[in-house]
């Protein structure tokens, strides 16, 4: 179906090719998962399939890419629209019209499909993706999962044989991600569509994949059955890592496979006892109480008629990492902004060091509570990293070089003359973190920081967050990423409809939750959250045995 013959892609001004000598054949009706670290060329590979590379992006493509027998050299993306459906990372950015129905029809209008056929296909697609009741809704009012399904539907109506999806679930909460993935697998199974999916959160997709294409980072690709490729992949979902640690063969790809193999491991872990928490557990009775960093009482946030946060009480302690979870639109961001003082707060009190960040000037508020917003790059506006650092020093009245020193501690080796936009997602996040930390706030809040980060960058972020907490700060991370939460958080707060519905020890709250449980917990049962805990426990067994 899709064939890459000796393809090398070089962008203008790049030192090395983004893809090098790629020979690849993706047969019809398969779901292919493309994995690799950020910048390894995943997007280039996907966009070469429908000719956006090089027709739209520029650059030089050697070799041949053919889709369903059509050469992308002679067919620009618009002429391939009826063969390849392309869904981008941010569905909202790709919408052309305003309402669901018009969006579904847009592609067909371009292909001059007769009106009667169009009408029928729109209805079929609405049913196929389960969005019939949304048909007249404005696209901006849909939730993330609904938008993603509409975006899939909008290319599906053109009747493509190939569906290309770039990070379809990266911005979605676990439930919405399941919805979107269920829709995709259904298309592959029922309609025989060939799907190519790139996804950082492999744990969500790998179990459905027929083939994995790995981009190790130097422009080449490795393609094969998932179990084989993942055995050598530098990035792998927790369930695969667990399999590697336990030495299972064949390597399990889904929680279900792993659970079947996990009997002996579970038994030996039971002997080893409960996992040691990453740091002393603040919620365990008997532990010395920690100093309170932030105390919020009855916080209410409303937008017009909508109550985003309904009377939330929250106490944050120094030295603790708290994860704030909940589905999209449950009020997480509103709560963070209200606590920081920059967002609206209609009732309630917030106290940090005896001051209310909502009533003091913005300059003082950021010395009390630092917030890294969801679109972190909104905070950056200068041409170089050094200029941003200098501006941050000035803004918070620190000696020159303070921000730069912080940045070097967080993420060493970022050249000062680079433009913030040219940094990788993880580096940019580090820069924003440094800018916010210069003010030395007691409380640091991160809103969806793992968006667009690969496993390596996420580990790095986990390390930084751990260090900040160890230095005595209270850190709050609002995120959908359960695996990240399992790594960093001691305490988990779950929100729904603007209220806190669960608050407690991470292992208790997410370990027992059907939606938020990390893969290791699903395989081994509640107290075990991460692979590293299992590794430590096994080391304990071994050394214990030697004694």
């Amino acid at each position: 179906m899709i064939r890459f013959e000796d393809v090398t892609v070089t962008y203008v001004g790049a030192e090395r090719p983004a893809l090098r000598d790629v020979d690849l054949e993706l047969p019809e009706g398969e779901l292919t998962l493309v994995v690799g670290r950020t910048g390894a060329g995943k997007s280039t590979l996907l966009r070469a399939i429908n000719g956006l590379v090089p027709h739209f992006t520029g650059g030089h493509l050697e070799g041949r890419v053919t889709v369903d027998g059509l050469d992308t050299r002679d067919h620009p993306p618009r002429e391939l629209a009826h063969v390849v459906g392309m869904v981008g990372q941010d569905p909202l950015a790709g919408f052309v019209t305003d309402t669901v129905e018009e969006e579904l029809a847009y592609g067909m209008e371009q292909l001059a499909v007769p009106p009667e056929v169009m009408r029928k296909r729109v209805e079929e697609t609405l049913d196929l993706l389960g969005i019939a009741e949304l048909r007249r809704r404005p696209l901006r009012t849909l939730s993330g999962g609904q938008q993603q399904r509409v975006a899939i539907g909008a290319v599906l109506t053109m009747g493509p044989r190939v569906l290309v999806l770039d990070e379809p679930t990266s911005a979605l909460d676990p439930t919405a991600a399941e919805d979107a993935l269920a829709a995709i697998t259904r298309l592959v199974h029922d309609l025989g569509i060939t799907a190519v999916v790139a996804e950082h959160r492999m744990e969500r997709v790998v179990q459905y994949a027929d083939r994995v294409v790995l981009l190790p980072g130097d422009g080449v690709v490795v393609s094969g059955p998932p179990a084989e490729v993942l055995a050598i992949s530098p990035v792998a979902p927790p369930v695969v890592e667990l399999g590697r640690v336990a030495g299972w063969s064949p390597l399990p790809l889904s929680v279900r496979d792993a659970r079947r193999l996990a009997g002996p491991l579970r038994e030996s872990l039971r002997l080893a006892g409960a996992p040691g928490a990453p740091s002393p557990d603040p919620l365990r009775p008997g532990a010395p109480p920690r100093e309170v960093a932030l105390e919020a009482r009855k916080v209410v946030v409303r937008y017009g008629d909508v109550l985003a946060v309904r009377g939330v009480d929250l106490t944050l302690e120094r030295g603790t990492v708290t994860a704030l979870m909940g589905r999209n639109g449950s009020g997480k961001s509103s709560l963070l902004w209200a606590l920081q003082g920059s967002g609206p707060r209609h009732a309630g009190t917030v106290a940090v060091q005896g001051q209310d960040p909502g009533t003091v000037p913005a300059k003082v508020a950021r010395e009390l509570v630092g917030l890294v917003p969801q679109s972190a790059s909104d905070l950056l506006y200068l041409e170089t990293v050094d200029a941003e650092c200098a501006a941050a020093d000035q803004e918070s009245g620190r000696e020159a070089g303070a921000a730069r020193a912080l940045l070097d501690r967080i993420a060493p080796g970022i050249a000062g003359d680079r433009h913030p936009r040219d940094l990788s997602e993880g580096q940019r996040l580090s820069l924003v973190l440094a800018v916010q930390l210069v003010a030395a706030p007691d409380v640091l809040m991160l809103d969806e920081p793992t968006r667009g980060l690969d496993y390596g960058a996420k580990d790095e972020l986990a390390r930084i967050v751990g260090e900040l907490a160890a230095a005595g700060r209270a850190v709050v991370v609002a995120t959908h990423d359960v695996e990240f939460v399992a790594h960093v958080a001691e305490r988990v707060v779950v929100m729904a409809e603007g209220e806190i519905v669960a608050d407690g020890d991470a292992a208790e709250v997410i370990g027992a939750s059907p939606m938020f449980a990390p893969q290791v917990a699903k395989v081994l049962g509640p107290p075990w959250l991460t692979v590293s805990q299992v590794v430590e426990a096994r080391l304990g067994i071994l050394t214990g045995g030697a004694r």
Partner: protein, 387 residues
């Protein structure tokens, strides 16, 4: 077979959205009627007709709810006209209402007078003028409230399709820009900025512009991969001819319209130029349109109801034009001497024809109802499944 007319009436009266063109023709008919007269009675009647129809037949979409804005703009125009007459000396006629102290101006501003005596004739003159303009604006507002402006853009001839989609995309950019400005301003506060002053402007402008550029690139690539701009193969020559025809034709139309409206231009620059220009432009459109191969999803059909709505508007325009040409006494109520404006029965009836769509147009479906009925459908399913 006896209930045939009843069924037909019922199927005619099914709730649906009308072709946007019908409402625009209706509204333009009313606006033309309003432009013919300064008689406040007739203008008030036209306003009342427009408001009645809007209230009876608008939906609950955002553009429909913006009608109030047009009414405010209308009121503002009337007010401004009257205020200007008072400020810049309104003492024509003899009926002085009140006298304000005159502001002395230097000699080189001779001919302009500030404040001073204010006559009823001047104030009324301003009021009539303002009311005429306000009525025309409210008529346009009524069209906007009754028909989705974007659907109107979709009905443009296919030669103008690209221009149409550019306008649609541009329109959707504004709310996005506003959103992005708000987001970035909030983010500025996080860095301790006040959100005011030149430095803050730079801090807001650059991220917003970067965001807008990113978005437009993403949108362009999405549109490209969804087939936007696919075209049939047309030889270069035909394309050139089509382009030349369109440009020359539109120029001709401009000159022609000027010629028709301005009595001092030579005759051959008037109507003949207009006709030739229109013909050339039409030829250009047809030639360009042939290049575009596209279909339209759920095009709005033009049915009986559309003809009724459009016809009522055209009728008002024509009737007023005709009646006022025959007997222009009611056209502009006399200010010198000051008289009560009069309105003949025939004129009143003619204008009331414009209110027919309030009853005769099929009702507009409301999205609220749709959501509610979808909700009950959903619960009915649940109840059905439950044991």
């Amino acid at each position: 077979m006896t209930d045939r007319p009843g069924t037909r009436w019922r199927s005619y009266y099914l709730p649906r959205t009308l072709h946007p063109g019908a409402w625009w023709v209706w509204a333009l008919g009313l606006a033309v009627a309003a432009s013919r007269t300064t008689n406040p009675l007739l203008l008030a009647l036209i306003l009342a007709v427009a408001c009645t129809v809007v209230v009876a037949r608008r939906g609950d979409a955002p553009w429909a709810l913006a009608f109030r804005l047009y009414l405010y703009v209308g009121a503002f125009i009337v007010l401004m006209r009257v205020v200007f007459r008072i400020v810049f000396g309104g003492n024509q006629g003899g009926t002085i209402l009140f006298t304000l102290p005159t502001v002395p101006l230097p000699d080189w501003l001779a001919g302009i007078r500030l404040l001073g005596a204010v006559s009823a004739e001047s104030v009324l003159g301003g009021f009539y003028d303002g009311l005429r303009l306000a009525t025309m604006i409210v008529c346009i507002g009524a069209a906007n409230a009754l028909a989705n402006p974007k659907r109107l853009l979709k009905t443009v001839p296919s030669a103008l399709y690209d221009v149409g989609s550019a306008v649609v995309v541009a329109l959707s950019v504004f709310p996005q820009l506003a959103e992005s400005v708000q987001r970035v301003r909030r983010a500025r506060r996080l860095r301790g900025g006040s959100g005011r002053g030149l430095r803050a402007l730079r801090g807001i402008l650059i991220p917003v512009l970067e965001d807008a550029l990113d978005r437009s690139l993403l949108l362009a690539s999405a549109m490209d991969s969804r087939g936007y701009g696919r075209s049939a193969q047309v030889p270069q020559g035909t394309r050139l001819v089509a382009g030349a025809c369109t440009v020359a034709g539109l120029l001709g139309v401009c000159v022609g319209v000027y010629g028709v409206l301005d009595g001092t231009t030579p005759r051959y620059l008037g109507l003949p130029m207009l006709v030739v220009g229109l013909a050339l432009a039409a030829a250009g459109f047809v030639l360009t349109g042939r290049r575009v191969r596209r279909s339209r999803y759920r095009p709005d059909p033009w049915g009986l109801a559309e003809s009724v709505v459009a016809g009522s508007g055209v009728a008002v325009g024509l009737l007023l034009y005709g009646l006022l040409s025959v007997d222009p006494t009611n056209l502009h109520p006399s200010l010198f001497p000051l008289n009560w404006p009069q309105a003949e029965v025939s004129l009143v009836v003619s204008i009331l024809v414009g209110a027919l769509p309030a009853v005769l147009a099929p009702p507009t479906p409301l999205t609220v109802d749709e959501i509610r009925s979808a909700g009950t459908r959903h619960t009915a399913d649940l109840v059905g499944v439950a044991p």
